[in-house]
Every structure is written in C-alpha cells, then in structure tokens.
Symmetry: C2
Subunit: 246 residues, 2 copies
C-alpha cells in the first residue's frame, strides 16, 4: 500500500528532529510542506523533489501528497513542531477520506511547548494547557472562554500564535483576561525563534508580559501559582503540598 509520512520536524534545527523523522525523509521521493519549513531542511535533502502551496492553501497541499503517493512515490508532508499539534495530521486524515488506498504514518516531533520550555527552564512540568490566539479557525469568544477557564484551573499555559500583523494586540487582550484571575506578579516568559537564528528567551511578570512586542514566531508561557523565576529561569514546581495520613 502507498504510504505518506506526516512528519513533525521540531523547531527547525536538524538535530532537534528524531532519528525516525530523518529516516522517513531519507526514504522519501517527494517532500511536501510550507516553503519556510522546506528551506529549513538544508543540504541533506537537496536532491529530493519538493512541492509546496502558499499559506491558506493547506488542503491543496494535502491533496498533492495523496496524488503523488498514488503515482507510487514515497511522500513526506513536513510540519514545524509536532504534526499533531496545530499541524497537518488532522487535515491529512480529512483528505484521506477521498483516498482509501493510502496509509498515513504520523511521526511526532518536538512541539514549541517542549522546546520553548527547555530554553526557559521548566515552566510547565505539571498539568498544563496549550492555547492558540489565532482566530483564523477558532471563534474569538471560544479563545477568551478557554483563557478564563484555564486561569481558574491554575494550569500552566503555553500560548501559540500570540500575535500577527492583523492581531497585533491579541497578547495584550489575553493578558487582560488572565489578570482577572491571576495576580500581576505571576511568573511568565516567552521564547522567540526557538532553535533558529536570533533565538530570544525572556522571563517577566504577567503584567510586564502584557506590553511585550511578540510575533508569530514567539511562544508565550504563563506559570501556575507555584511558578517562580530563579536565576532568570521560569520554574514551575512539580507538585503542590499534599496532606497525607499514611
């Protein structure tokens, strides 16, 4: 049966990919992906056929994979981070409904919640949630509701897509929602260009976060009630005090 790998390539640096991902790419005839990610692949894959579509033409990009696979090519669809976290795995399964004779193999990768956390210290390390501030495919009211509930749940949070040109004030709006439930001194931080050129790592309070300039290559972290900034690292405790009668 023809098969397509759906690969999470991690933040971008080749050594942050798993060996499983590298092997799948080695084996592939055709690599499909958004051009920014194809460009990150580097020398090792320079002789592969590379196919792409512009942003917002993701479904077409998926169909290209299946059409190439039908021709007998081994195909890889690459995504940044993890293919199953705001990646193409879901849409590939949607499109697969029209192509019953092709098998999908999802190869996980390091998502920004993990790679960004590693640079900041240990900001998650307990129950957490991941929320994207992009309202392209999510009603804005639902994003607000999730922020409200996540704050009440004392989840540590990783916030993806905190800003874009159109949504320049979304992080500020999100912080204002969180500040209804969380003290302004809450330990937070953010990471930009993880594993790429001009990597930037910064800790701050929730109130300071409100006025940070961030972009679509930034991942923001909100600590939970146990988090603290130690030596410029954002560290969330691995647990809470628990009374035991044992």
């Amino acid at each position: 049966m023809n098969k397509i790998y759906v690969i999470g390539m991690g933040p971008g640096r080749e050594e942050m990919m798993t060996r499983e991902a590298t092997k799948a790419l080695d084996e592939s005839d055709v690599i499909v992906g958004y051009t920014v990610y194809l460009d990150l692949l580097g020398e090792r894959y320079k002789d592969k056929i590379k196919l792409s579509t512009p942003m917002k033409q993701e479904e077409k990009r998926c169909r290209i994979c299946f059409e190439e696979a039908k021709k007998g090519q081994v195909v890889s669809m690459i995504c940044s981070g993890d293919a199953g976290i705001y990646g193409m795995a879901s849409l590939m399964y949607e499109v697969k409904k029209d192509y019953s004779d092709v098998e999908l193999i999802v190869i996980p990768g390091i998502t920004a919640a993990s790679s960004g956390a590693a640079l900041l210290g240990a900001p998650l390390n307990h129950d957490f949630c991941v929320i994207s501030l992009s309202d392209l495919l999510t009603p804005y009211e639902l994003i607000e509701k999730r922020l409200e509930l996540a704050a009440q749940a004392d989840f540590a949070m990783a916030i993806y897509n905190p800003s874009s040109k159109k949504r320049f004030d979304y992080l500020k709006k999100a912080c204002d929602i969180l500040l209804k439930y969380i003290e302004p001194e809450r330990a937070c931080g953010f990471v930009r260009n993880i594993g790429r050129e001009n990597e930037e790592v910064k800790t701050c309070t929730l109130l300071e976060l409100r006025d940070q300039q961030v972009d679509m290559f930034t991942t923001v972290f909100i600590g939970n009630s146990t988090s603290e900034i130690v030596d410029n690292k954002l560290v969330t405790k691995r647990g809470y005090p628990v009374e035991r009668n044992e």
Copy 2:
C-alpha cells in the same frame, strides 16, 4: 563550568530520541535515571557509568547528578518523554539552588501527548490540556476541578497516569466527572506502551472509556466536540466553523 544535561528520551525506542539527545548521551561520562529508563537505553551506552535511586527518591537522584558534576564528570539525567512535562527538569532547578556553579541544559523529548497522538491519528491538533490523575503530588480536589473546567473549555485532553494499583478506579471517576459536561458518545482513545513491546492502540466512546482497564503505562485521549473516529483513528478537526465578513 560543569554542566548537566536533563534529557527527555521520548517514549523509549532509541530512534524516537532527537539527535541532540543522542549526542549529549554520547558526550556523558555518567547517566543518571530511574532504572526502567536506564534499561531502555540499550547497547550504545553500555560502557557509561549508570546511577539510579528507587521511585520516590527523586531528589536524591538529582543530588547525585550535581555531586558527579562537581567531580568534573559530564552528567546526563534521563527522563521518559519530555524532561519538562512531569519530568525532572523542575526538581533539578530546585536542587540547583545548592549548586550555583553547575549549568543545566534541558534537552526536550517527545512527550506521550505527541507520541500517543501520532499512533491514535490526530486526537489533539487544536487547543488541548494535559492532566495527570496521580494525586501523589497534587490534591485530588484540584485534579477534579481541572477536569471540570477542561470539559467546559472544550479542550481536547491527554490524560497521564490514569491508573495505578492504589488508584485503580481513577479513570472511571475522571470519566464520571467529564460525563457531567460531555456527551457519552464523545470520541476518545488510549495508547499503552508507546514505542515499546506490546504497544496497544484503541479508540472508544467516553462511556466505553469509563470501563477500560488501563495502567500507568497508558495515555488516555479525550476528543473535543469536533472529534470523530474515522477508520479506527481518533481525529480532531483543526478548527471550528468561523463566520467571516471580509
């Protein structure tokens, strides 16, 4: 300056580690970790010094790392999954307060939310949360509260540590909480022994999940309101219908 790598080794299979993690282990004189994980490392690292402590002696395990580093050894602390997601990164930073002259370098790995999702299909793929049902370091009431709020937020969920010998009925109790907010037909699934022997992948409804036998090597996934089971895969849509006036 002496340094310690805190390494997420992913689910266990060596090819699911990043090259960065492999390189750090290659470079290390001493590898510290829970015995189960040390055993997973295999032949490649058979000549390294390996040190361990039993479960619940995690702090002692961390101190061993720093003491070895002080002697001038290059040390790696290994964790399953990601070092910053219920891993040792946080505790290492705590213990580091007593060892100012040692540098910590966290190397992220594939956590079960990613590796389990890849096997199940695309169960997360939008905003999600990760909740551990272990009440060893978390008051049980907080776990319940998080489940309640996560259900109301329509988060897809990855549930870690769904059960143990002592906590044999915790998944059932968690499902009963979720069933207060979520329809019994909600698409769910679970994965056992990810990337290891006797790997098992299963989709089911939330109501069916309630009566599943799971263990501490199982990761459970709860779909959101858009999730469906297609061809035995659990797939969450990459977005919601959004009205646009553009």
